[in-house]
Amino acid sequence: MDTLPLPDDGDTARPTPEHLRELYSLMAAVRHLDLSAVAWQRQGIIPGYAPELGQEAAQVGSGYAVDTSRDFVFPTYREMGVARTMGVSMVEYMSTHKATWHGGLYDPVKSRLAPIQAVVAGSVLHAVGWAHGQTLDGSDAVAMTYLGDGASSQGDVHEAMNFAAVMKAPVVFFVQNNGWAISVPTERQVAGGSVAARAAGYGIPALQVDGNDVVAVLAATRRAFAHCRSGNGPVVIEAMTYRRGPHSTSDDPGRYRSLDEERDGAGEDPLHRFRQQLQADGVADEEFFAQAQASAAAEAEKIREGLEALGPRPGNEMFGLVFQETTPALQSQAVSWREESEHV
């Protein structure tokens, strides 16, 4: 499905070989970090993690379209690949999975990535509000909000799409339809079978794209951004992909899907597929891939070191960061906390 008018001025050129190699390197880094994080959870370095295995193309492709000098992105809890692509510090990002700080330690304003969002569909409306703010300011910046197939069932998604369409807000709803919401498959979640199909009801143009094809995802996202930037209002993109791993490190997919179902549903690995394509097109060679793999490994290793070095935040931040202007009650609670818990 593709109801998005072709843009007059958007950059829809195919990425250069250099860009293609960069996309591959990003996907390789994300893949490596993702697998590492699962291992770290098993090793007790982090208490939990939500893998994005299989969604690298959807995340890297879409994140690559963002202009971090002006746009703003609203992630869920599974957008590690987007964060990495946008250049967010990965130690600061992963800190949320170390249970250091809900939302992560990175600066959302500087990195143009809103704090990690644990409420399913919790931030779609924020994106609409931020986008409407751009309209009020006469800016051409665009908001992109991520959501899953499961999230699409939430009332807030409907309110967000309707608000965005009524206000012509420059916002891209980027749906990663990965086939599952924990144990519930898309066919028992998304009536009608497609989130993108709902956009028509609001008069919003929509695109369904192969979410395992990084180049296709990038092209779709660029077209959507161009549409929004030109003042045409919101766009819905549904990237069809597959959650190859468990929902989180405490999930056991064997309870609700067989390995056969998994293999059939997942299709071809997006990283492998892109690699074969680059090879076939002569864009990259074995040496490049080996190199990409090596730097991915080195990067993950550095992130591990950073995470292991990361201590807990001081307890007084509990009190100090609640408000911009604190209150007497909070101040006195902070004092008794210090006396009773730190014995000072």
């Binding site: 409306l125 609409v128 409407h132 751009q134 967000a160 911009q324």
Partner: protein, 345 residues
């Protein structure tokens, strides 16, 4: 309902910045919003019927015409949408002043209020402040349909990251709204809708200190603590009690979070007896918190346990029964009696 517009008021008042004018609470709130919009170009007002209509209570009357459709606008009919959108606008550097049309329709937005608005500053480590002033026409007393007479202060006051305030008269309304709407933190502004059309003097120049509680009447036999619409009723009761020689101190709590414990304790250390009055149901109401703050701070001086005179633990009833539900003068006087006649057993 009043047909007064922003224009009319200005003429009617004819004041330089600084005179004392007589305004209804609706007019005082309208004027405060008008000034906030004029003074802060990032302030924006929106909600259901806030724009062209000026709100079902006319609090935003004339503001769209004066400040334009970018500053004051109608949204689709969805409260979670309105509050969720406020978060995004705040992240984009605006000062949103959303309205929820009636108290009971804040519930559909509670997830955005509790999980997002109240926590974004904390979650983002102070980088994404939420200067959101949520106006909620609140409390009962106007024979309205179901869900139009709710008192949500106990819920809001329990939520870390929110501040909560309720004015009791036009003067307070004007100053507290101007103060709330210029704060860098989220404030729930609970407007006592049954008082919208009551007039009072507003000294626009001198609002006094905008934080903490306020003694509205001094007394030495008993402290009556209230907020919002109940404050006026408590002043009436104090008047009646005075005829019997009972000098009641009436404390308008104003800020329901943070609560001004110091003023509570100062007053009750003097009077040694206290009654707290609210419309919300008794159990787990804010009266329990007030009573406990008083008890803890005045344990040695209290002559009787703090009494609560409140709504009952029942759904807010239809108009025919609302006078049975809302604390009335009789019930407050019975509360007095229990406190004054208390004898250690």
């Amino acid at each position: 309902m009043s047909d007064t517009t922003v224009e009319d008021e200005a003429t009617m008042a004819g004041d330089q910045h600084g005179a004392t004018v007589t305004l209804s609470m609706q007019q005082a709130l309208n004027r405060a919003l008008d000034e906030v919009l004029a003074e802060n170009p990032r302030a924006v007002i929106f909600g259901e019927d806030c724009g062209r209509l000026g709100g079902v209570f006319r609090i935003t009357d004339g503001l769209q015409a004066k400040h334009g459709e970018n500053r004051v606008f109608d949204t689709p009919l969805a409260e979670s949408g309105i509050l969720g959108m406020s978060v995004g606008l705040a992240m984009a550097g605006f000062h949103p002043i959303p309205e929820v049309q009636f108290d009971g329709f804040a519930y559909p937005a509670i997830s955005q209020i509790v999980c997002q608005i109240a926590r974004m500053n904390y979650r983002s480590r102070g980088t994404l402040p939420m200067p959101i002033t949520l106006r909620v026409p609140s409390f009962g007393g106007i024979r309205a349909p179901e869900h139009h007479g709710e008192s949500l202060e106990a819920l809001f006051a329990h939520v870390p990251g929110l501040k909560v305030v309720s004015p009791s008269n036009p003067h307070e309304a004007y100053h507290l709204l101007k103060y709330a709407a210029t704060r860098p933190d989220p404030v729930i502004f609970m407007e006592p809708k049954s008082r919208y059309w009551h007039k009072g003097d507003v000294d626009t120049a001198d609002g006094g200190t905008p934080t903490g509680a306020k003694v509205l009447r001094e007394g030495r036999h008993l402290t009556l603590v209230a907020w919002g619409a109940m404050t006026a009723r408590c002043l009436q009761v104090a008047e009646l009690a005075a005829e019997d020689g009972i000098e009641v101190e009436v404390l308008d709590l104003r800020w329901l979070k943070p609560i001004d414990a110091e003023s509570l304790v100062t007053s009750v250390r003097k009077t040694r007896r206290a009654v707290v009055v609210h419309e919300a149901p008794l159990t787990s109401g804010l009266g329990a918190e007030v009573a406990q703050l008083i008890t803890r701070g005045c344990f040695d001086t209290l002559k009787a346990p703090v009494e609560r005179v409140t709504g009952f633990d029942v759904p807010y009833p239809s108009g025919d029964l609302e006078d049975e539900y809302i604390p009335n003068i009789d019930r407050i006087l019975f509360g007095f009696q229990r406190v004054l006649e208390y004898r250690r057993g």
